[in-house]
Every structure is written in C-alpha cells, then in structure tokens.
Amino acid sequence: MVRIPLFRKKKEKKVEGREGFSEALKGVLYGFAVHGAATAALKTRMHMEHLFMLMTLGDMLGFPIIPPYYSLRILPYVVPNIKAWKERLFRERDFTDLLSG
C-alpha cells in the first residue's frame, strides 16, 4: 500500500499537549495545501496501473488478451496487487465519484 505521511491508524493513542497541537496544526496545513494533490496523484497512478495490468493480465478478468510472454515474467511482481486491482476495477463508479479526481 502506498504510504502518505499523517495517515492515522485506527484507535491510535492520542498525542496531547504541545506535541498534539503541533501535530494538529501540521495536519490541518497538510490537508489544506497538499492532501487533494496527493490524492489526485495517487489516482493518476492508479489509472496508469489499471491500464498496464489490463494490457498484461486482462485475461484474468475475461478480457480477450492473448497471454504474452511478459505476463508470465511480471506475474511474481504483480501478484500482491491483483486482489486490490480487481476490486478497484470492478467497483461501480458514478459521475459524482469523478469529483474526487
């Protein structure tokens, strides 16, 4: 999974005092200035990856692609991403989802 700073794990212990304030301020500024850009960049990469995976491993989803030699070569590297790729590709998308980039 791609890691972006300031992600919080569920039920993480809260930081208090001056350190907590500093974390909050940093988070707000990050959200205000960069979060949208980071999400947009991730989505751009996602679309590129979808295209690449479709071209090489589309037969897994029923697309009529002749399995090329290179599909087998890259298979060990893409195996960890196949489940997430299938889920994302098959997820129903609506025009209001497009607002997020």
Binding site: L6, A24, G27, G31, F32, H35
Partner: protein
Amino acid sequence: MQVAFLETPSMWIIGALVAYAFAYYVYARWVDEHIWEVSERRTTPAHMYLDGVEYFPVSRYVLYGFQFKSIAALGPILGPFIAVAYGWLPALIWIVIGNMFIGWVQDYSTIMLTVRNEGRSMGPLVYNAIGERGRKILLAYLLFYLLIISAVFIYLVSLFWNVFPGSFIATIGIIITGLIVGELLYKYKANIFGVTALAIILTLVSVGIGTVVAWPPKNYFGQWSVQIWSIILAVILFIGAIVPLPKFITPMNFVAVFPAIGGVLLIIFGALISPVTGIKLLQPAFKGWYVENVGPLFPILFVSIACGAISGWHSLVSTSTTGKQLDVETDARPVGAGAMLTEGLLATSALAAYMVVSPDLIAKGKISAFVNGATLLTAPFLGGEMSKAYLLTFFSIFLVIYAITVQTLVTRYWRVFSAELFRRGSWKILGNKYVATAVGLLLPIVFALTGSWIELWIYFGGSNQLLAAMALTLVAFYVAKMRKPTWYAAAPAAFMTLVTLAALLWETYVFGLVTFGLRKPFAKPPLTSYPAAAWALNVVFFFVGIVLFVLGLYMSYALWSAYARARRGEVEAKAVSP
C-alpha cells in the same frame, strides 16, 4: 483611536463565534450521540475497502483542512455583498442561523451517509432512494449548475482584473509560481519546506509587482474590456482543464492556499481588534424588505449568501471524498461540522468588511466594496496609509484566487460530466475532451455578456441551495430508514426546498417579464447598445430558470415522496447498531 465596542464589527464576530461554539459543542454533539449514535468500534469504508487510493483512513486534522479548502470559495465572500443591500442585520442573522441549524447539519450528515452506506457518493445514494431516472436528472441538474457557477465566476474574475489594476499581473505571477513549484516538487523532488517558503515569497513579490506596476488600467480594452478579460481567462481555464492535474491546477492551487489563509486570518483579526483600531460600522442595520434590481428579502436573502450559510457543493465534496477517508465515525463532527462552522466564520468576517464601508459603495453596487472594507480593517495594524496600496492589490488577488481555483476545477468537472453524459449516440462529439471544455467555457462567456452578475448569482445561489435541500431530504430519508428522529434534517430540508424553489421561480418570473416585453432587459454596457442581443440573452436566462426550476421540482418531489415512504415504514429499515 478607540471607539465604543458596540459601534464596531468586533462584537458581532464574537457573538457569531459563541453561536458556532454552541452549535458544535451542544447541538452537533447531541445529533452525533442520539441520532447517528456514532461509535469508534464501527468499521468505516476507509478501513473496510482500504486500497490506498480512494479508500484509506486519514487523520481528522488532515481531513478538516482538506474539507475546508474544498468548500471555501467566493460564496461566503461575495454573497454578503448582495445580502447587505437589505442591511447587515438580516445578513448576519441568516449567516448565524443558517450555520447553526442547517449548514453543518448537511455537511456532517452527508459524510455520515457515505460512511454508513459503504462509501457511496451522491449519485448512488440518490439512485438507491429514487431510482435511475432520479440519478440521470441529478446529472442534468448538475450540468446546469456548473454552467451557472462558471458564468458567475468567469464574469467576476474578469471584472476584478478590469477594476483592480495590477491584479492581473499578480495573478499571472501566482500562476507562474505554481508552475515553478510544480516542477520543483514533482520533477526535481525538491524539499517541501523550501519550496513552500519559495512559493510564499514569490506570491508576496507577485502582489508587490502588481501594486507597483498597477497595469493595465481600468477599461484598458475599451468598452469590451470585461469580455476580453473573459476570453483571456478562458484560455487559462482551457489549459487547466485539459493538461494533467499535477502539471497546472494542483501546484497553482497549492500556491494560492497561502494568500487565501493569510487573507482570512488578517480580516478576522482586523474585525476583532476594530474597537482598538477605531474602525466603525457605517452600514445601516436594516434597509428594507425589497431592494430594486435584487428582489424581495424573502427568498432572495437566503440564496444570496450561499456557501457561507449552507451549500449543496459541500454535499458533493463530503460524499465523493471525505466520507471515504474518514478514519473513525467520531471524526465526522470535527471534520464536517467543524469545517462548515469555520466557513461560517469566514462569511461573518467578509460581512464585517462590508459593514465598515460607506453605504454608497453598496448602493452603487461597487464590487470593490469587499477589497476596500478588508483594507480598512487590516491597514491600521499593517503599516497604516503606507500599506494601503499593497493591501488593495492583496485583497483583490484574494478574491481572484478564491474564484479562479474553484473555476479551474468546475471547468474540469464540466468536461468529465459531459464525457459521462454524451459518451454514446449522435451527441458523442460533445463528450470529446476539447469540445466539452470549449463548450463549458463558451456558454458561460456568452451568459456573462449581459454583465448582470447579481441575477446570475441568484440563479447560482438558488440551484446551489436547492442541491443542499435535496441532500438534506436524502439525509432525512436515510435517517427515517434507521427509525430515528428525522426532524433535525427534515425541517431544514423543508425550509430550504421552499425558499430555493421560490427564489428560482422569482428570478424566472423576472426574466419572464423581460421576455414578454414588460421590463427592460438586464444588461450593462456595452451590451446596452445592442438591445436585441440583450433581450435574447435574457430570454435564454428565462429558459435556464425554467429548466432549473422543473428539474429541481422533480427531484424535490421524488425525494420527499421517498422520505414519506420511509416514514410510513414502506422502505426496508436499516440497523444502526454496530
């Protein structure tokens, strides 16, 4: 110079702060605990569907900053300009009451709708409530809505560039800064702190160059100046809509963040210390129930201040992104309600800037009123007379960036919505990337030819608030399915449905009078020299009003019917317990 506390905007800002604190700590907490029964133990879509791209848990502070940045635009700043025509008191009452009982309710509840419905955005939520036809009508409605926003924002940016000498140069400076920052960040992987410092310095230098050069002067292109500025802006927006986000829009918006935050903080601080700086209220508290060329206080006041009190745009942001990235349900209140109430504070501060300017400026409809008011509030603690010229340029650029950063995204959304709507059939060409963008810019420019931005703003406010009313009705529908009290969403939904349909009907009626020759067309020079063209555009606005009203009426009827069915128990109940 010190003046009586009550004669300054300070007391009203403090009063609004107290009201917003009550809304957040008492009312919102009650809704959070008793209606939605939020729990840290319930898994959110961010965890359930975690993919690191669309669904991932994000810190509440990051999401708060993101939500506020996504919802704050020109609405809370320019809306009070129209509303203050009735006096500052009705405007203040609407901003405070709207935020306390309607605005945060929508933003918070739509986030919760997405969280409790497997991360679905507005379209699928509408589909579940009223079916495929409702979803398609929502798409058509949103296209008209984007068209009206574009017409208003394109006209206003062009007007700002025309009225404030130097603001165009400063804007270009910020765009160039954005391009440099983009290259440094994405291509050369430069250090973010260094790049941010460089962005702030270059932005301040751009404003300084704009102030010193103060070129081009007002009406530089003659009587067609505003229209020519619109075409220049359209070229910039066209590039923004077709090139990849990280190349243009993203870095430009990143750079624009700093003057945007700085301006808001300066105005709030200036309003709070106004008893010390001696800046007094000059506007009358109440002027009347009817204002010529604006309309009756009911319903126009409630749509003129849009995003500062409630806005349908927020429901789109809440459901399409924020709700999918909420770490725990208990974060919905600080993110949704917190960001909305902060925007309410921004609207109150903007109103403070209008309170302290001469009533003449408002009466004559001078768009420079905000810039003058903000400069009056801030100059006393930023160098006095010496800094006034710089601050005038700074606050003019403040207006431009709030409009232009949203407009770049709106143009892009128009393009992707058009691609969705016209992907098949004989109209397929309209879904083409370049054609859709060109149409999405050309139509608003033609609309803006009349120069009657206040009438267009009322359409924008009406359609935006009606979208909010639909979102609130949708919330009431889902809360009814949960077998929980619905009044907290249904009552504001009923009020907003009534008020926005009335406002759209009023504006359609006004353009109808023009259409049937019972009133002079709304037009400003140079279009006044072409009465037939002015009349034709007013006729187009009449039909736009009819379309918006009919689509809005259908959606409202369908959603209220769904809500009634849910209340009667004809819709399958949904559990709320973890």
